[in-house]
């Protein structure tokens, strides 16, 4: 075992750092999805043109075709340089694209992947429904097959970037009367199709970043099904392993900077003399280090075996809860200044309020604990 990088990897790291240093936008990314869309698209385009989009995506679809380790190096340097969050490109780059790479037809891949990488096409996710949250298999939105078309009716919720998206990864029930995981399909839905209504939802942090989506006899081509009719659950789950590989590297680098800042702040204000504060800061600094170790361990496992290790499911839960502990500490150190927060402020209070999402979105902390208990420890399934 070793924690060093090869000469080639070190050169690649320097290359990443240099480019980021001279190309990071001077202005801050706006908070609201609508205000940020031009910014997000422009930044993604610049990344793409310079060859930094999709480092480990296949080169025939516009990626660099490099290794997972190089992807990790890029993401580490990206976060260290405090480059902007990829924002509206998040779903396409981190979820929709990877799902297409693993499951889509040649035609679907060659059309969509380069558009995702270049920032030309914005994607959103359509999984959760008002009645299907943690119980995702309770999806009711239906797709009736009529000739060469699917006719969609129903609604989706918590769909980030729905109001600015061009495409949606939509999971719906294409077999009427089917139950649970059977009879679902994963389809590519054009968000500009007639019959789609988007109602943006404001979060308690003040941003309008997600939305509810209604489908009223929305007709999309049957060709837009990915991975075959009725295989939607399998297709949706296939991305989880991809997501667990590198999805949290940026968070982890960000957290190591946050803890350093918090310690410096507590030292400057004298709060560090309070043993309870010092104890929690020391604890979190150790945890942030361990998170990097755990991520490296997981990536090593993927490089060695092609699959993330069983501990991969731990990373997501640990990252989310550690992030919340850091955000909470930042707010505690602010004292009464927390009361000055107003919607639109981009500061520690905003991060704290927004951070509640991390143990809810993409599988609650409770669902993650079920997964760890059942898959890692072999405990009986509760559902």
């Amino acid at each position: 075992m070793d924690i060093g990088f090869s000469d080639e990897e070190t050169r690649f790291r320097a290359e990443c750092r240099d480019w980021l240093h001279s190309n990071i936008p001077g202005e801050k990314r706006p908070l609201d999805a609508v205000d940020a869309i031009a910014f997000d698209k422009d930044w993604q385009r610049r990344l793409f043109d310079a060859g930094w989009a999709g480092i480990n995506w296949p080169s025939e679809y516009g990626g660099r075709g490099l290794s997972l380790v190089e992807q990790v190096i890029w993401l580490e340097e990206y976060a260290k340089a405090q480059a902007p969050w990829i924002g509206a490109n998040f779903v396409g780059i981190n979820h929709g694209g990877p799902t297409l790479i693993l499951n889509a037809s040649e035609e679907q891949k060659s059309f969509h992947l380069p558009r995702i990488l270049s920032g030309e096409a914005i994607w959103c996710q359509g999984f959760s429904e008002p009645g299907a949250g943690s119980d995702l298999a309770g999806i009711k939105t239906s797709g009736r097959i009529e000739g060469e078309e699917i006719v969609i009716n129903g609604s989706k919720i918590w769909t980030s970037f729905a109001h600015v998206a061009d495409w949606q990864e939509l999971v719906l029930r294409t077999e009427s009367g089917s139950k649970r995981h059977a009879g679902l399909s994963w389809v590519i839905c054009d968000m500009h199709t007639p019959g789609i209504t988007v109602r943006p939802i404001r979060k308690m942090s003040g941003q309008t970043e997600f939305a509810e989506v209604f489908y009223d006899d929305v007709r999309i081509p049957l060709d837009n099904v990915v991975g075959g009719l009725g295989n939607g659950w399998k297709v949706a789950m296939s991305t989880l392993s991809f997501e667990r590989g590198t999805g949290f590297i940026a968070d982890q680098v960000k957290q190591s900077e946050e803890i350093a800042e918090l310690i410096a702040k507590a030292r400057a204000s004298g709060r560090i003399e309070d043993d309870r504060i010092a104890d929690r800061l020391a604890q979190m600094r150790a945890e942030v280090a361990a998170l990097r170790a755990m991520t490296y361990r997981n990536i090593s496992e993927v490089v060695r075996t092609g699959q993330p290790g069983p501990e991969a499911s731990v990373i997501r839960l640990f990252t989310a809860e550690l992030g919340q502990r850091l955000e909470r500490m930042a707010v505690e150190l602010m004292g009464e200044d927390v009361l000055d927060f107003a919607y639109g402020d981009d500061n520690a209070v905003h991060d704290y309020l927004r951070g509640f999402a991390s143990t809810i979105a993409g599988g609650t902390a409770q669902i993650q604990r079920d997964i760890i208990g059942e898959r890692l420890l072999g405990l009986p399934k509760s559902r």
Partner: protein, 297 residues
């Protein structure tokens, strides 16, 4: 960069686990046979840290985590450090210096003990007239020294880190043992006509145990590699590993008893052995906050 064990390391890890399961099972920790130390010697675990062996800290960490999983004698820790940094002795007991004297663990058959005295580990001579008392950790007897013996300090900067790293490895093993024991019991024990592990309230206790163990083990590997590479921040990483490993061992030790319910609080069941071991490990090269908060501007 590679934080997974290679084939040789996995083989060594597996062989260690296999031997321990047969010859040194966890449930025998309170009543180890007299000849156990000789067996450990003949298997090579007391010599593996000797300078000529050229085994890196990463491999040591893997093996010691495995030994720790079976609550192996704590003198393996002190002996390993003594073997690496001083003259190898047949068996070196573990010394813990506190304000009110020195405590010696696993002193049977040992003529010397090693512990941290201030910043550096040091060796002290043991007389043969000491009275052996029971200790919280039932795997070891306890000798209390009230006089201040002469300490032969080992002033190599890595020696203290070595002790901290290996005891972190023991704690990681201890945390794993408690987690596995709890999960096994939760699959077996039935209430309300189903295994108790079916209930989220119990399942999530077990999941949290797995998280703590995985977090601590990852940092242990990173710290061992940092020490092998003599990285500038190796001391921080070893301290972080020890802090997280101690915590995982203690909290998993407590949680395991809760999962076991009534039987978990008894002397005849084994969950308390892990908890009591964790309490001993936490005092070996403990981590102060300043070690984790230092060097941040």
């Amino acid at each position: 960069m590679d934080l997974t064990p290679d084939t040789d390391q996995i083989a060594l890890q597996t062989a260690t686990g296999d031997w321990c399961r047969t010859n040194m099972p966890l449930n025998g920790a309170r009543d180890r046979p007299v000849g156990l130390w000789r067996d450990l010697e003949s298997m090579g675990w007391t010599e593996m840290t000797a300078p000529g062996m050229d085994i890196d800290h990463a491999t040591e960490a893997l093996v010691f985590a495995e030994l720790g999983r079976y609550l192996a004698p704590v003198a393996l820790l002190s002996s390993a450090v003594a073997t690496r940094w001083a003259n190898p002795a047949p068996k070196t007991a573990l010394a813990l210096a506190a304000g009110n004297g020195i405590r010696i663990f696993d002193g049977e058959g040992a003529t010397e003990a090693l512990g941290l005295f201030g910043k550096f580990p040091g060796l002290i001579k043991l007389g043969n007239d000491a009275e052996m008392k029971p200790s919280l950790d039932l795997s070891t007897g306890l000798i209390r020294l009230t006089t201040s013996p002469t300490v032969n300090a080992i002033d190599h900067p890595h020696a203290a880190l070595h002790l901290q790293l290996l005891s972190a490895a023991f704690a990681v093993g201890c945390a794993d043992a408690a987690c596995e024991m709890a999960a096994d019991y939760a699959k077996l024990r039935q209430q309300f006509e189903r295994p108790i592990g079916w209930f989220q309230a119990l399942k999530h206790i077990c999941s949290d145990m797995a998280v703590r163990a995985a977090v601590a083990r990852s940092q242990l590997y990173f710290a061992a590699c940092a020490l092998d590479a003599s990285e500038a921040d190796a001391a921080f990483h070893v301290a972080a590993a020890k802090r997280l490993a101690d915590q995982a061992a203690l909290e998993n030790g407590r949680a395991n008893i809760q999962v076991h319910g009534g039987i978990g609080m008894t002397d005849e069941a084994v969950p308390h052995l892990c908890l009591k071991r964790a309490h001993l490990l936490q005092f070996i090269a403990p981590v102060e906050n300043r070690m984790l908060l230092g060097d941040v501007a």
